[in-house]
């Protein structure tokens, strides 16, 4: 099967538009990715044909909706190679999934003086929930530093992994640096001390083949919207034994078995963690995104992305004044950079006028910005539907930025 970029781009109708009169060049995929027609069609079809609440109706629509929702769960299960469907919890996204673990795993397991180990390259959503629960429990947040290339200092990780560490939470792939972390090694080291590991897969899920069983991670979290699916839905994978032992995150409908004013018994997994009407269409849309990805040959897509990354890195580096932040040996799809004498925000505005969409700012990783001594960066992030021509347009536009600020 050949990787046919023209055909692939046809599946993403949003890419066809003009921005400020120029062809849209979308290089902000790490913020959110676009949705293939298959996903859009599935959403429309759900609302036109099957819309109903799940797990409670006796009627045929509810039956179909429930079936589609649970089928989506199974698709996620197989996509990340989880053992069982009840290890897949639908959440609102990565952020909610991490908060769930921080609250339901963190609160019962953290006591005064205990430690949570994260890294310097985490997204705020893998920092703040831990900070909150640490503060509540009198526990300490420990942070593994990164080196100048933007790689984790594994020597420091081993030092910081102590008898007081109760959980390790680390990103599988950095949204700022593109760094792919040696998570297998991290998990092995942590498991030697019986410490569970949560992987933030928000970025990795769209670029790497994820196998939670092989990784042996205890929790894996990601958002559908970065995986070509809809916003407002995400996934918490957790090992069954851990999930079983955890108290519910939120109370409400669907998560109960029986309720009296004296006592409520909770539903089984995964429903224990899915209080209230979930994002039914969203979950089904995520299932459709996974189905779509199966049709395109993930390995070829990843190869195409790697080629684009290499090409973009090379051409960017040849522009005087450009500094790339994040030069890890093992990285994917993301390039953060600064341009001497020009603030990233100004780069973003000028590129936008050329139809090129990039992200500028701190990327929800302020501690990392501080580490690299920059207030903000400009960032391009690639998806398999991007092309070499788009990289060329981006580079030409960047030269325009230099013109304006010469």
């Amino acid at each position: 099967m050949k990787f046919d970029i023209v055909k692939i781009r046809e599946e993403f109708p949003i890419l066809r538009q003009k921005a400020h009169g120029k062809p849209l060049v979308y290089l902000d995929n790490a913020a959110t990715s676009h949705k293939p027609r298959a996903v859009l069609k599935t959403l429309e079809q759900f609302y036109t044909e099957d819309n109903a609440n799940i797990h409670r109706g006796v009627h045929i629509l509810s039956e179909r909706a429930t079936e589609a929702y649970e089928a989506a769960r199974a698709k996620v299960q197989h996509f990340i190679h989880a053992n069982r469907p009840d290890e897949i919890i639908f959440t609102r996204g990565t952020t909610e999934a991490i908060n769930l673990v921080a609250q339901s795993y963190g609160r019962p397991n953290l006591n005064a003086g205990d430690e949570v180990l994260i890294t310097e390259m985490e997204h705020h959503s893998n920092i703040v929930p831990w900070q909150m629960i640490c503060e509540e429990r009198g526990a300490l947040l420990k942070v593994v530093p990164v080196n100048d290339a933007g790689e984790l200092r594994l020597d420091q990780f081993e030092k910081l992994l102590s008898s007081k560490t109760r959980i390790v939470a680390v990103t599988h792939m950095s949204n700022v640096l593109g760094t792919i972390n040696p998570v297998k090694e991290i998990i092995q080291k942590a498991h030697q001390k019986n410490i569970p590991v949560l992987l933030d897969g928000a970025q990795a899920i769209a670029h790497l083949a994820v196998n939670v069983e092989e990784l042996d991670c205890d929790f894996y979290v990601f958002s559908a919207h970065k995986l070509y699916g809809p916003t407002g839905v995400g996934v918490l994978y957790g090992k069954r034994a851990l999930l079983e032992a955890m108290p519910p995150y939120q109370g409400g409908g669907d998560m109960i078995r029986s309720v009296t004013f004296e006592k409520t018994t909770y539903n089984q997994l995964p429903y224990k963690f899915e209080a209230g009407t979930p994002n039914i269409a969203g979950a089904i849309g995520l299932g459709a995104a996974i189905d779509y990805l199966r049709t395109i040959d993930f390995e070829k897509a990843a190869h195409h992305e790697r080629e684009l990354l290499a090409y973009a890195t090379e051409t960017l580096q040849s522009i005087p004044g450009v500094r790339i932040i994040g030069t890890a040996k093992n990285k994917a799809s993301v390039i953060s950079f600064s341009l001497e004498g020009v603030h990233p925000h100004d780069i973003g505005t000028i590129l936008d006028q050329e139809g090129v969409a990039i992200r500028t700012g701190h990327h929800c990783a302020q501690p990392l910005m501080k580490r690299f001594g920059v207030p903000a960066t400009a960032r391009i992030s690639l998806a398999f539907y991007n092309t070499r021509e788009e990289i060329d347009i981006f580079i030409r536009s960047l030269k325009k930025v230099k013109e304006v600020f010469k």
């Binding site: 925000h345 207030p375 600020f405």
Partner: protein, 164 residues
């Protein structure tokens, strides 16, 4: 199409490159800190007030060209003005960058002087906060507020929220 030249006018680029009054004012008796959490821009405004007169004013910080030039031109403009005049200019500036005056709306009042170079900002909604950060921070400095002002503390109508 919005023209980049309307946004990045020569005067703005010049003030970005060589900001005026870019220092810490030793004799300052008023100070405030401003912050734009969305892009990390950060600014300190120092004021030396003599009664109602802005005897001297300076700024320090880091930010994009628009926010830096805005701070630079603001300090240039406000030096030697009264508090009342400054408030009028603040209102005028706010109107201008949010679209109340200028080519599309009413005419920009003469008294805005050099500040009129920021009239292009209104075509770039994402940059309005960059242009107004210095002014909000100046306002906070007048009141000697101790908490940093943030561009995200505006209400949904774009007015800075009242702080206690």
């Amino acid at each position: 199409m919005n023209d980049l030249k309307d946004l990045y006018q020569e005067v703005i680029l010049d003030h970005n490159k060589r900001p005026r009054n870019f220092c810490k004012l030793q004799q300052a008796n008023h100070h405030a800190e401003g912050y734009n959490p969305l892009c990390g821009d950060h600014i300190d405004i120092y004021l030396q007030m003599e009664g109602d007169l802005i005897k001297d004013i300076s700024f320090e910080g880091s930010g994009c060209a628009i926010s830096k030039a805005s701070a630079s031109l603001m300090t240039d403009t406000l030096k030697g003005k009264t508090r009342e005049k400054a408030e009028t200019l603040f209102d005028g500036f706010h109107q201008m960058v949010t679209g109340g005056t200028g080519p599309a709306g009413k005419e920009i009042p003469q008294e805005m002087g050099k500040l009129a170079v920021f009239s292009g900002v209104r075509e770039f909604p994402a940059r309005v906060k960059c242009a107004s950060l210095a002014w909000h921070t100046f306002h906070a400095a007048l009141e000697n507020r101790h908490e940093a002002v943030s561009t995200e503390e505006e209400d949904l109508n774009g007015k800075p929220a009242q702080q206690s």
